[in-house]
Amino acid sequence: MVQEIYLDNSATTQVDGRVVDYIAQVMRESYGNPSSLYDMGAHSQRLLREAAASVAGLIGGRGENLCFTSGGTESNNWAVFGTAHAKRRRGRRIVTTAFEHSSILEPFKRLGEEGFEPVLVSPDSQGNIAPEDILAQVTPDTILVSFMLVNNEVGSVLDYQAIAARVKEIAPHATVHCDAVQAFGKLPIKIEKTDIDLLSMSGHKIHAPKGIGALYIKKGTRIDPLIYGGAQQGGLRPGTESLPLACGMGYAARLRGERLREDYQAVAALRAYTLERLKELPGIVLNSPENAFPYILNLSVEGIRSETMLHHLERERIYVSSASACTKGAASHVLAAMGLPAGRIDSALRLSFNAGITTEDIDRFIGQLRLGMETLARARS
């Protein structure tokens, strides 16, 4: 069987073999509950602190400010609900963008039903959101501004430092939350040098397992817990910590940190190569903005439905993501927010890279894409 080419690294990643081994070792040797008073508990507690420090280190933060969660969705839910509920007396206005992940949009919708005033800022047709567009919606009584650092479908990069700094000028009481799930471990972030208060991360996007994520909570930020229980993680996120997964995420973060800049260069070169090769194929339109995050490339294949091309590529073990879902009305909300025509949304594909992908892999992908464009039945426009 041919080697798979996994071009869907924004959906998830393969767990690094070294991380697998380390997690197994922690499970076997350090199974004590971090809250236990005897030495086994203390040992686990130390491993947990080290893991938190490693994860926080990757975004230039301190381990004591980091809480482990079950993943990006929980981190985002917590940031939104936790902030809104802690600051409800200061105001009702909460601001985000229209192309956020559903783990932000759905909590915003819910808070709207609870009497908050959610405001969604739309991207332009290139998939960009300028800081001014967000800032124009921020009022002095705004309590939360939440935005993605990198969009997961098209790869737009927001100027998070400028946005955060200006939000604090207009609304000193607002909490600034940044969903950095896609950017984490790929872009250099120095959270303590920015005005961001909360930052969401996920383990499985950086070659750690699924089921672990984190929320960075800068000192002094007011946030209510999402769930209640014991005193773990300062009582903010109760429940016995998943030590093996936390350690796995910590180790994966250290490994990412060592290669962050190198990999960024490699992936940028790979993306440039892909763009060059795509020019050979007539009928391809790019949906990603020009200055986008190199790890993500969104394109539409004129006339061929996303799922059809996806399954065609799958037969050659090439894996990409369809930005649109099959049921009508559930098409990509990101591309829809950009105002793209239906035909382009229905035929959109997302490639997401990692540094291990080679130009030969891209050549094979281009070859199969070309074959698909030549042989597959086309949707009627």
């Binding site: 439905r305 799922e307 996806l310 399954h311 037969r315 099959c326 049921t327 698909g372 039945a377 949707a379």
Partner: protein
């Protein structure tokens, strides 16, 4: 206290000299469904079958749930087995049915005495057991017309049974006792219901599904497998044949007028299904068609697809409304899987304006462009067969 399950035969009780053939099949089906729950001994006594657990650790509630989905029984009940002595029967009635009796306000006792050597006659048994229960549960009152709870006592040759009311069985005929048929299963709501209904009439079900990769996905195939497993709770093991249909669809799309795509595609499905049915000893095809539900199910369209094959085509839901079909689908537990969104992923092959009143001569003319034999042969060589087993609730 020993528990058994009493199974009341349905229609097969009316069969004549060939009745034992049906009963043998029924016992076999029961044993198949009880695999994984435990082993049971089956004995027959006229229109009742007794399932006796061979092991005390068997969960009888699970067994009852499994047997409720076996076609061939009108009703079933759990009973406790006691010695043929009045005191023992009285004690058992109070202990075994105590919980129900405590909840009831009125009750009555019904007795049946198959063993005429038992010293008390049926009405006397009723009086004695009823009197005892009144003394044990003073809040109860006797109501012989509309009781909240009826206690049944059956005095048999070897023992007496004490039981509460009977639960409805699945009805129908034992699966496999009427032969075998091939179900065209799409992944929607209707076809599993059609399969369920024909299995109820004693047909063993095989299934055929048409897949068109890359226009349909692996998820869609997994969904159909899941539907077979769910339908299998009633129909038993289902052999599923997945036909690679892409080539046929592409040819139709390339060579036939758009408005006939669907009708010609369905005719090919019938032709391929018929050939597969004959290879596998199936005496009929089953579809989930319902008149007028969609363009391909108008009377004209059904007329055009029906003549594509010689075998009888059974359409058990033909006269049912969608909401009636949905109700059955919910009851038999296939609905949630049926509404998973994979099936309709591809609208590439659906005409914008299908003909709702196709005429056969027009369809036949449109089909002329296709090399029928080659297309069918190609599809027949492209079949994957998967045996699916019933999924427990």
């Amino acid at each position: 206290m020993k528990e058994i399950i009493l199974l009341k035969a349905g229609e097969i009780a009316l069969k004549g000299l060939n009745r034992s053939t049906f009963e043998d099949r029924l016992v076999k089906n029961c044993k198949f469904r009880l695999k994984g729950i435990g082993s049971f001994k089956f004995t027959r006594a006229q229109s009742t079958m007794v399932a006796e657990p061979m092991d005390e650790s068997i969960d009888m509630d699970d067994a009852v749930d499994a047997l409720k989905t076996v076609f061939g029984f009108a009703g079933l009940s759990q009973a406790c087995v006691v010695e043929k002595e009045l005191a023992a029967i009285q004690q058992a009635a109070a202990d075994y049915l105590g919980e129900d009796l405590r909840r009831a306000r009125t009750f009555k006792v019904e007795a049946k005495r198959a063993d005429k050597a038992f010293p008390l006659k049926s009405p006397e048994i009723c009086t004695e057991v009823g009197g005892y229960l009144l003394s044990r549960f003073p809040h109860l009152q006797v109501d012989v017309h509309n009781p909240d709870m009826t206690v049944y006592v059956e005095v048999r040759d070897h023992a007496a049974f004490v039981r509460g009311p009977q639960m409805p069985g699945a009805g129908g005929m034992p699966v496999g006792s009427s032969g075998k048929a091939l179900l065209l299963i799409s992944g929607g709501i209707d076809s599993p219901v059609a399969g369920y209904m024909m299995a109820k009439r004693g047909l063993e079900i095989e299934a055929i599904h048409f897949a068109a990769p890359p226009y349909t996905s692996e998820h869609a195939k997994q969904k159909v497998i899941a539907l077979c497993q769910e339908t299998g709770r009633y129909a038993g093991r289902i052999k599923l044949h997945v036909v690679g249909f892409t080539k046929v669809q592409e040819e139709i799309r390339d060579k036939c007028p758009e408005e006939y795509f669907t009708i010609i595609m369905r005719r090919y499905m019938m032709k391929i299904a018929e050939r597969l049915a004959q290879q596998n000893g199936c005496g009929a095809l089953i579809t989930g068609e319902s008149v007028a539900q969609v363009a391909s199910q108008t009377l004209y369209a059904i007329g055009c697809t029906d003549v594509a094959c010689q075998l009888p085509v059974l359409r058990p839901v033909i006269g049912m409304d969608k909401n009636e079909i949905v109700a059955v689908s919910r009851r038999i537990g296939t609905f949630e899987t049926s509404i998973l969104p994979y099936e309709d992923c591809c609208t590439v092959f659906t005409p914008r304006h299908p003909r709702t009143k196709p005429r056969l001569h027009q369809v036949l003319a449109a089909e002329q462009a296709l090399d029928e034999e080659a297309l069918i042969a190609q599809a027949m060589e492209n079949i994957e067969t998967i045996v699916t087993y019933p999924q427990q609730w």
